[in-house]
Amino acid sequence: MLAYIIRRTLYAIPILVGVNLITFALFFLVNTPDDMARMQLGVKRVTPEAIQKWKAERGYDKPLLWNADAPGAGRLTETIFFEKSVKLFALDFGRAEDNRDITNEIRTRMGPSLALAIPVFLVGLAVNITFALGMAFFRATYLDLWGVILCVAMMSISSLFYIIGGQYLISKLWHLVPISGFAGGADALKFLVLPVLIGVIGGIGAGSRWYRTLFLEEMGKDYVRTARAKGLAESVVMFRHVLQNAMIPILTGVVVVIPLLFMGSLITESFFGIPGLGSYTIDAIQAQDFAVVRAMVFIGSVLYIIGLLLTDLSYTLVDPRVRLG
């Protein structure tokens, strides 16, 4: 297994270089270093000298990918892409364009993001699986039919509707929790109840339908018929056999997103004023802060690769037939 992990880790390097290159190309297709300077220096009374000075200080006065004026390897290394990328791979994210330390920001914002994402993930998973198992259990009955209709309706509704509707009902009309905001420690609870509830409800439609499909597929297999023929109670069949065997596809979808929980939720964090990494990324895109955008895309890629690796490893835990070679 160790050899497998090492091989997958080595595979990750060219993937990360590629992701970094694509991010770089996409960003600089729509933003020039001059645009970035203007965005940071403001729109009033910005002189060409000030723009040049800003670029020189941050290394944006060099060519993007190829420095024809530099000697030897300098043609490749004395470029914006190389200089920024090398530091990235050393996990030196540097400073944002507003001069704040990116590592410090990520460290600070990770907590609020996880405080929201972990409960949504765990509670959502439990609710979706329970609901899906219920629908599968009552398959081909009116309960199943109405359950599916409800799921389709719920997944057809925009997440923004859940957020705005939830804020309106629960916070504005019923005054049960604050509409938005965040606080550390135990005070965080009152701010997290609503976004977690909305996050869970918003995910029921799609999640439950997907799990229901998985369960129904398993329930049609021979071992289920055998279990029933043995006289096992339907609940035992469902929870001990069907659920366990449906874990492989569930894990495929679930384990891969676990590392990405760090990245936070872009929309939910903005609407609920949660100072997490999701809103950090949105702010950076709006502010054309390449340093932050690049760092967040890089971290997202690393976490996604880790998620895929964990998924593969988890197969061996839930299915003894799987061997990683």
Binding site: K53, Q167, F271
Partner: protein, 691 residues
């Protein structure tokens, strides 16, 4: 079920508030609650230049002058200075301002004023959660601190947006920048600006300094009311330069150090900024005079009382308008603007244009305050464009026709809910030089009828278009339809109605309009290159002087030629000559006459096809006193007072939790599970079906 209902009644009857976003320990305290949408980028007074930042910096930093809080037109008054300085001719040419500051002013408590804190170990810094966790000290404000800040304008390590402008004005500032650039080769060392002389700025004594300008520049005193000229103690720069500080985001750019009424003690631009009353603040009396209506409006109740009135100001980050608005309605913010989506919920506009709050707002005791911004948004013409630009008669008539066709009154009504005032000249209301009444209207686009300005008829526009050589919107020579291009920055699908409206305005005179919707960067690029034809842009005044608006049309400021602020690239020799005279004059009848002539030239040439001045609508709760919009200054927090008890009572009244609907939903969910449970049990007991 009965138990649930009992629980609901009990919970509903509780007098506590569940949705309070603030800590319980803050209840009943003298705190002002506000919000910010955009995170500030810079809080260093040498770099900060936006309103989002000024709301923090101007509470902390004190330049020598400030604007009178109540009087209009805006009037400069001393802040830390003893008087508003006057320009005196200098011996070697130019003018000198002598600024005398009040003795006995002290800085806020800050670790930079404790000598031991200037040589901290990196490990100790790494353990700090806030700079204020260190021992704090203070010292008296000196003239040296003002001089230090002026030198910082030229620092190669900082980006002051006004350096270019000030280098042209202050004797020796440009040369200092050049010397510092050559000297500053070791970035790991602190750049001690005290060791570098600035020729045009001289210390007279501990409380007096002189600034020498190369030439008369009457607007300089306005700059003395901005944070760019606020004092910065060298110790603060030295303190934050220590290794390990920047990694913790402890920089002067994020942790201001000043003498103002408040000090920034919590700085999390992602979530919350908190200002606390500066215990060393000397106190300042609330103004005793203002406009005629200020007394009846209750704005002079605190006359002569020592400010500030509020102990703490908590700013929470609200990125979205809906939560911001709802929290205001719940009483968790003391004031708010009116988001466009909720305008009808807050304000009713009568047929005659009178504005009033809705009954819902009135029931809450909310007050509405409106003010015309010292801002202009305009539809500009590129003077370099072959079709619409230049001073030829044909293009001029075409511009006049378009200026009549652009119905800005309708635009304001449809898209701004009436929150705007049509611009008849380049000046903003309240600025010296702008006429009022009949004399204020642009006679080429409006006529004075029934005591008000009425837009000229579309027939007159068509006539002008025909005289320009485009009868019925077609070129008289070629027969080709006249197609014009408008460059603008779109914000998404929501802009479509606006684009359609613009097209309709041009279509009224059979001119086709193509809208080039682009992003801000591309738009700026086009403007810089002078490749646009028509464009939309705005200007927010730095200071209340006509020079700050009329320079937008000064030939020497041409964007395409000099990267200046004249985005229309308008050139008129007479206008430029008058501008050069007007800009250094005091506000005299002679200056008014010159401005009148410049405005007449502007109207005749029409480099802008009109525009409007936004009107701000601000709402405040009944418990917040002394709020008056001030477009020039943002150091308003010290004037505000909060009736804490009234706020607490109303918050309790407005936010009683309503539990029964949630319990009802819960009960319904439980009930809905009953058939499933029954069905499950029936299945479990069911015998196997015979084959």
């Amino acid at each position: 079920m009965r138990a649930l209902l009992v629980l609901a009644v009990l919970a509903g009857g509780c007098s506590g508030v569940w949705n309070d976003p603030y800590p319980a320990s803050d209840r009943g305290k003298n705190i002002l609650y506000s919000a910010f949408t955009e995170r500030p980028k810079h809080l260093d007074p040498v770099q900060s230049y936006t309103e989002d930042e000024a709301r923090f910096t101007q509470q902390v930093y004190e330049p020598p002058l400030q604007y009178h809080y109540l009087k209009r037109p805006y009037e400069l008054v001393p802040l830390t200075a003893l008087e508003v300085p006057k320009a005196v001719p200098a011996r070697g040419g130019g003018v000198v301002y002598t600024i005398r500051i009040r003795p006995g002013i002290h800085y806020q408590p800050h670790p930079a004023f404790v000598p031991e804190n200037l040589s901290l170990a990196r490990e100790r810094i790494a353990r700090l959660d806030s700079p204020y966790a260190l021992p704090l000290g203070t010292r008296e404000l000196l003239a040296d601190d003002y001089i230090y800040e002026i030198k910082r304008l030229a620092s190669p390590r900082l980006h002051s947006p006004i350096f270019g402008l000030m280098a042209e004005k202050i004797v020796g500032l440009g040369e200092l920048a050049e010397r510092l650039r050559k000297f500053d080769t070791r970035k790991q060392d602190w750049l001690d600006l005290r060791k570098h002389r600035l020729e045009g700025v001289e210390k007279v004594d501990d409380y007096t300094y002189r600034v020498q300008l190369k030439a008369p520049y009457p607007q300089f005193v306005y700059w003395l009311a901005m944070p760019f000229f606020a004092p910065v103690p060298w110790e603060a720069e030295r303190f934050f330069f220590q290794p390990g500080m920047a990694e913790k985001n402890f920089t002067l750019d994020w942790w201001p150090v000043g003498t103002g009424a408040y000090m920034l003690t919590e700085n999390d631009p992602n979530a919350k900024m908190e200002l606390v009353r500066n215990p060393n603040f000397r106190g300042e009396p609330y103004p005793s005079a203002g406009e005629a209506e200020d007394g009846p409006a209750g704005l002079l109740q605190d006359a002569g009382r020592t400010m500030p009135f509020v102990e703490r100001v908590v700013f929470s980050r609200e990125k979205e308008a809906i939560p911001y608005w709802n929290k205001f309605l719940q009483g968790y913010y003391d004031s708010s603007a009116i988001p466009s989506d909720t305008f009808d919920q807050a304000v009713r506009v009568a047929v005659g244009g009178e504005v009033a709050l809705t009954p819902e707002m009135q029931d809450k005791g909310i007050r509405l305050r409106t003010s015309v911004d010292t801002t202009i948004l305009y539809l500009g013409v590129n003077w370099l464009d072959a079709t619409v630009g230049g001073d030829g008669e044909r293009a001029r008539k075409l511009r006049h026709a378009l200026a009549i066709a652009m119905d800005w009154e309708e635009f304001i009504s449809i898209f701004l809910n009436g929150r705007g005032r049509v611009a008849h000249d380049p000046l903003a209301p309240g600025i010296f030089g702008q006429r009022t009444g009949r004399a204020a209207i642009n006679p080429l686009t409006h006529v004075w009828e029934n005591g008000r300005a009425e837009r000229r008829s579309i027939e007159q526009a068509r006539q002008l278009l025909a005289e320009a050589g485009y009868p019925n919107g077609r070129d008289a020579k070629t027969g080709e339809p006249l197609v014009l291009y408008l460059d603008t920055v779109g914000r998404g699908p929501g802009d479509k109605p606006r684009f359609d409206w613009w097209r309709r305005q041009f279509a009224k005179i059979a001119v086709q309009l193509e809208i080039r919707d682009t992003d801000w960067n591309r738009f700026q690029e086009k403007i810089r290159k002078g490749s646009q034809q028509l464009y939309i842009l705005g200007w927010n005044a730095d200071y209340p002087d006509p020079e700050n608006f009329l320079f937008l049309l000064h030939g020497a400021q041409s964007r395409a030629a000099t990267q200046g602020e004249n985005s229309s690239n308008y050139v008129n020799a007479e206008f430029d000559r008058l501008f050069e005279r007007m800009k250094t004059m005091a506000n005299t009848p002679e200056r008014q006459a010159i401005i009148d002539r410049m405005v007449a030239l502007y109207r005749r040439d029409a480099p802008w096809l009109g525009g409007f001045h936004p009107v701000s609508y601000g709402l405040t709760h009944a418990w917040m006193m002394n709020g008056k919009p001030n477009n020039m200054a943002r150091n308003n927090l010290k004037y505000l007072r909060v009736d804490v008890e009234r706020r607490a009572a109303l918050r309790r009244e407005w936010n009683q939790p309503v539990v029964w609907p949630a319990l009802l939903i819960l009960a319904l969910l439980i009930l809905s599970a009953v058939p499933a449970i029954r069905s499950y049990r029936r299945r479990e007991r069911m015998a196997a079906k015979p084959a």
